[in-house]
Structures are given as C-alpha cells and as structure tokens.
Amino acid sequence: MVDYGDLAVSIFAASLPLTMPILYAAIGEVLAERSGVLNMGVEGVMSLSAFVALLTTFYTSSYTLGLLAGIAAGLAMGLLHAFATVKMGVNQLIAGLMLYFLALSIGDFGYVLVSKTTYLHILPIDSVHIPFLSDLPVVGPIIFSQNVLVYASLLVAVVAGLILFRTTWGLKIRAAGENPEATDSAGINVNLVRTICVVVGSALAGLGGASLVIGYLGLYSTGDTLVAGSGWIAIVVVIFARWSPYRAIAGAWLFGLGYAAAAIFIGSSVFSILGPGSGYFLLAIPYIIAIVFIIMFHRGTRPPSYLTVPYKRK
C-alpha cells in the first residue's frame, strides 16, 4: 500500500527546488518584457550559466563565486541581446532564438572540452535545518527544509514585485514597455531602461541556471538535457502570471509540481494501471492548465503594449 499522504508531502517537498530555477528566470523575463523586450534566449542563457557556475565552483570550491560567475555569464549574454535588439533593433523573437542556440552551444562546447580530462561535479549546497520548524510534520519537509537558494528565489520575486509596482524605477520600466514615446517625452532614456532590464533579466536567468547546478543537481549535461525546458517554461510562466513577479511564484510552482510528480510517477510501478508511459502526461498537465487558463482569462491577459517593438527616437 502506498501512503498517499507521504507521497503528496514528498512531491510538494521536491517541487520547490524544481520551482527555483524557473522562478529566477521568470522574474528576469518579467523585467525584460515589462520594459518592452522579449528574450527567447532564456533557456540557452540558463544552460551556459549552469556550466559556468559548475566550472567555477568545481575549481574554486566556492558556491558564492560559482553563483557570481553564473550571473556574470547571464549578464554577458544579456548585453549581447540588448545590443542586437535594443541598440540595433533586430527582431526580438529571432535574435532571442539565436541567443538560445549560441549560449547553449558555448556552454556545451566548454563542457565537452573540460570533461575530456575532468569529471565536473560538485556537491550541491545543503538544505537548512531549522530546529523545531524543520521537524514539524508536512510543513517541515516542504517549507522549512529547503536550501538558501530556494528561499532567495521567493525573496527575489517579492523584491522585484516591489520595485516594479512601488517605485519610480518600476514606473519607468513599465512606461518604457507601455508607451515608449511618452516616456521619452518625459525625459526618460527608454533604450537605457530597456538595456538595463534586459541585462538584469538575463543575469537573473543566469542565476536560475547557476541555482539549478549549485542548489540541486551538482553536474552538467549537454544537448539541453540539464535545463531541459525550464527556460521555455519561464517564458510561459510570465504570460501565465500576467507579467507580475508575485503571480510568477504560483506559476513557477505549478510547473515545479508537475516536474516533481512526473519524476516520481514515471519510475513508479504502482501507477502502471494508467498504462505505461502515461507519466509523461503529468509533464503536459501544467501546459494544458496554462492554455486553459489563458483561454478563460484572455481579456485580462494583455502583454505590455510595446513588447517586441524597438524604440527609435524621432
């Protein structure tokens, strides 16, 4: 007999670390898109940063340096995307996809070179143990036994939300995406705001990739099998969350749950009554929910008015 209560707890507990990389990347994408720039390269940026973070942590034995290196790689890719789309005005969708291919292959290439002589792997960061709280039933393992990077991702989401909706900075960002011309007339440098948002957003995607390695897996694999769709999911989450970092927490968690459930059910024989291979359906469920959700709420789901439209001063 399977204890369904225990099973649910373990799925929920496993879901948060899987939510974390998606959430970091989704927050970054919210910032970029709010300012008017779509970055479809997130998946590749995460993958490159994951490799860079792994490499750095492996050779320096420092999680902090690893995270910083991952962020730096994301930042560099963000600069490239900002140059192509904000400065040059190249089609954002296409440039982003090229960024995906470029970043992914650079990370993979680096890994192939290094792994000829070295087996790159690290011990992922430990989960915290809070006396009393971590030992509570249900909430203990789910909420109070995660690692710092998981908690940080939630904090970053809240901070990003506060910046976006409660500061003049946030107002400038939203204005750049909603009405760049009026923003410009108000004396705000639209393309500077956009560049900063793209770069910071990409750095957050980098943090997402780094957190996947340092906070969860401890290794890398080529051919986009490591990030394995988290970056694309982040883009989906942004729309699902209607461009709000707060709602992105819920959106990212939904997909984290899907991953966690699928990971358990795919290997489980208990559920074979559903037919072999049906575990893959669990991976599809969050996507189906997302589609249904957007059909139901399509009137309220409107992207920033000038998303994907380059701004050129007259």
Partner: protein
C-alpha cells in the same frame, strides 16, 4: 534603387560570414586547433564525398520545410514558433496511417501518409490559430506551449500504446517498407524527401509572390491596418498562412520518419522546428533564399559532425555556435545597412 538594396543584401552576408568565421577561427586558435584545416574539414565533411553530400542534402529537407513553415505565417505577421510540436504531431498522424499500409503499393501509400502528416500538423496549429482569430490572443505563447504537449504525447505513445515490444528503445515498430520514401541514389540518405522540400519551396514562392492570396498575405503582414482599408481580409490571410504552416511542419516531421528512421522514436527531432526559424531568418524570410540558407545550415551540421570525428576532433558544439553566430550577424548587419540607408534619405 532596387539594385542597391539587393547589393547591400549580398554585402551583409559577406560581412556577416567574414565576422563569424574570424570569431570561429579565433576560438579555434585560442584552443589550439588548426583553423585552416578545420574550415577545410567543414567543407570536405559536408560536400567532400558523394555520401557526405547526400547526408547534407537529406538534412536540407526537414530544415527547409521547417523554415517554410515559419516564414509563410511570418509574412502575415503570425509568429508560429510551434513548428516543432506540429512536426511531431504530423509525424504521429503520418505514422498511424503508414502503419496500416502493409501490402499497399508505395505510389498509393506514400501520398496518403504525407496527407495524414499535413493534417496532423494543421490539427496542432488549429487551437493557437483559433485563439488568435477569435480571442485575439498573441500566438507566440500558445504555439510555444503546444510544442511541449506534442513532445509529451509522442513520448507517451512511444513508451506505451505504440511501443515496439521487441526493442528496449522507446520507439514504435518499423513501418512497412512500401511507405519508405524511395532513394534518389541507392543506399544513401538522399531520397524523395529532398525533392518534396524543394518542390514545397517553389510552391510557396509561387503562392506568396504570384497569386492574389500571396499578395494579401504580404499586405496583411506589411501593414494590417492599411491592408484592411484596402479591402484585404486579414483574418482570412492569417487562417490561410496558419493552415499552410501546419501542413508544411507536418511534412517536415514525416520525411524524417519515412525517409530516415522508418520508426517513430522519442525525441526524433533534434529541434528542426527551432532550427527552421534560424534558416528562415538566414534566408531573409524568402522561400528561395531559404533553399540556399538550409543548404548552408545543413552543410555546417554535417560538416561539423565529420569534423568532430576527424583527427582534429573539434567538438560539434563549436560549429553549432558558428551557425547561430552567422545568423545573428547577418541580422545585425542587415539592420545596420537598412538604418544607414534610411538616414541618408
């Protein structure tokens, strides 16, 4: 004036190619590889022998069809990034029909299978198309999401209901031989799929540039409002490009299944749907330009593969980076030239 523009276009390719190759060579040099030998290896690895040439030309098929599937709707400003999912579902529909074709001669079976694949592709674009036309939901999101659902469905059937019990691989049983696309050169990968893709490129070119529908499609993309004022039914254009796109994507998946693998396997597409977008951009969203672009792209993939296995052993990922770099630089240089021209006026 027109001539200047097209000269500028060739110039942009030259600049982009030189910039990308220089960066590629610097990376090779820095890592201790021989850049000249590697570049020669790329060329000889893709067109050096008859076998390699046929491998390259086979790969042109799915890349070109995927590029067409992206560029047709792109012309009407419908961004279908769901080609990957549509090619999976197209291949699934095609497989289901093909599996029933034991004993049916190829001349009957193959067209039926291809039609089924086209239907599958259009089925998979139907929902995003509906959402765009009826609910005014931007298509980028639904088409992207549908990719993952499609891959999950194919993952499921190849692990469950359609799995070949005789193998440990996650794939279906082999298709009846009559449904295999006939080879153009015996015992090579070059088969009817390549011809189908080329023919599709010419048909798409004809439709886009020589028919009223094509004019309406391009007008809808250039300026939806002006097109509407000019009496063009923009909705009809979008419906037309959506259906054409799904059909082309389905074909792209099918010619890989019936032309190369002869089974439906998990993850049989290494991202043709996404690579097609790169090819379409490289071919300036023109069907005939995409023929050239897909050949270059395929040559780099096949050449990069043999370079990896040659004595130089340059990992293929560096060639992948080169592909992306070429497309990105072409886009940037083209934009730069266009802006300069506009400023001069």
């Amino acid at each position: 004036m027109a001539q200047q523009v097209s000269l500028g276009r060739y110039f942009s390719y030259l600049v982009a190619l030189v910039v990308s190759l220089v960066l590629f060579s610097i990376a090779l040099l820095a890592l201790g590889y021989d850049p000249i030998a590697s570049l020669v290896g790329l060329v000889s690895g893709s067109f050096g022998t008859v076998f390699r040439t046929t491998q390259t030309l086979f790969l042109v098929g799915p890349l070109l069809l995927a590029a067409l599937a992206f560029l047709v709707p792109f012309r009407a400003r419908f961004y279908n990034i769901g080609v990957e999912g549509q090619l999976y579902i197209g291949a699934l529909f095609g497989y289901i029909v093909a599996a029933q074709m034991g004993g049916v001669p190829g001349i009957v079976a193959i067209p039926l299978v291809l039609i089924a694949a086209m239907v599958g592709g259009t089925v998979w674009i139907a929902l995003p198309l509906f959402m765009r036309i009826k609910l005014q939901v931007n298509e980028i999101f639904p088409t992207l999401v549908m990719n993952f659902i499609a891959v999950d469905i194919v993952n499921w059937v190849t692990a469950g209901p359609l799995k070949d019990p005789l193998t440990g691989n996650l794939q279906t049983a082999p298709l009846p031989q009559s449904t295999w696309l006939p080879s153009i050169i015996n015992n090579t990968e070059l088969n009817l799929g390549f011809v189908i893709a080329l023919a599709a490129a010419f048909v798409v070119f004809f439709v886009l540039f020589r028919t009223v529908l094509g004019f309406e499609i391009r007008a809808s993309g250039a300026s939806p409002r002006a097109a509407k004022n000019g009496g063009v039914d923009v909705t009809r254009s979008i419906l037309a490009v959506g259906l054409m796109s799904g059909a082309l994507a389905g074909l792209a998946g099918m010619i890989v299944v019936t032309g190369l693998n002869h089974v439906l396997a998990q993850n049989f597409s290494p991202g043709y749907g996404y690579q097609g977008i790169a090819v379409a951009a490289l071919g300036t969203f023109n069907p005939l330009g995409s023929v050239v672009a897909s050949t270059l792209y395929a040559a780099l993939s096949v050449g990069g593969d043999s370079l990896q296995r040659s004595a130089a052993a340059v990992p293929i990922q560096l060639t992948y980076a080169l592909q992306a770099l070429i497309v990105l630089s072409v886009l940037i240089v083209q934009k730069w030239l266009k802006d300069r021209e506009e400023r001069r006026r």
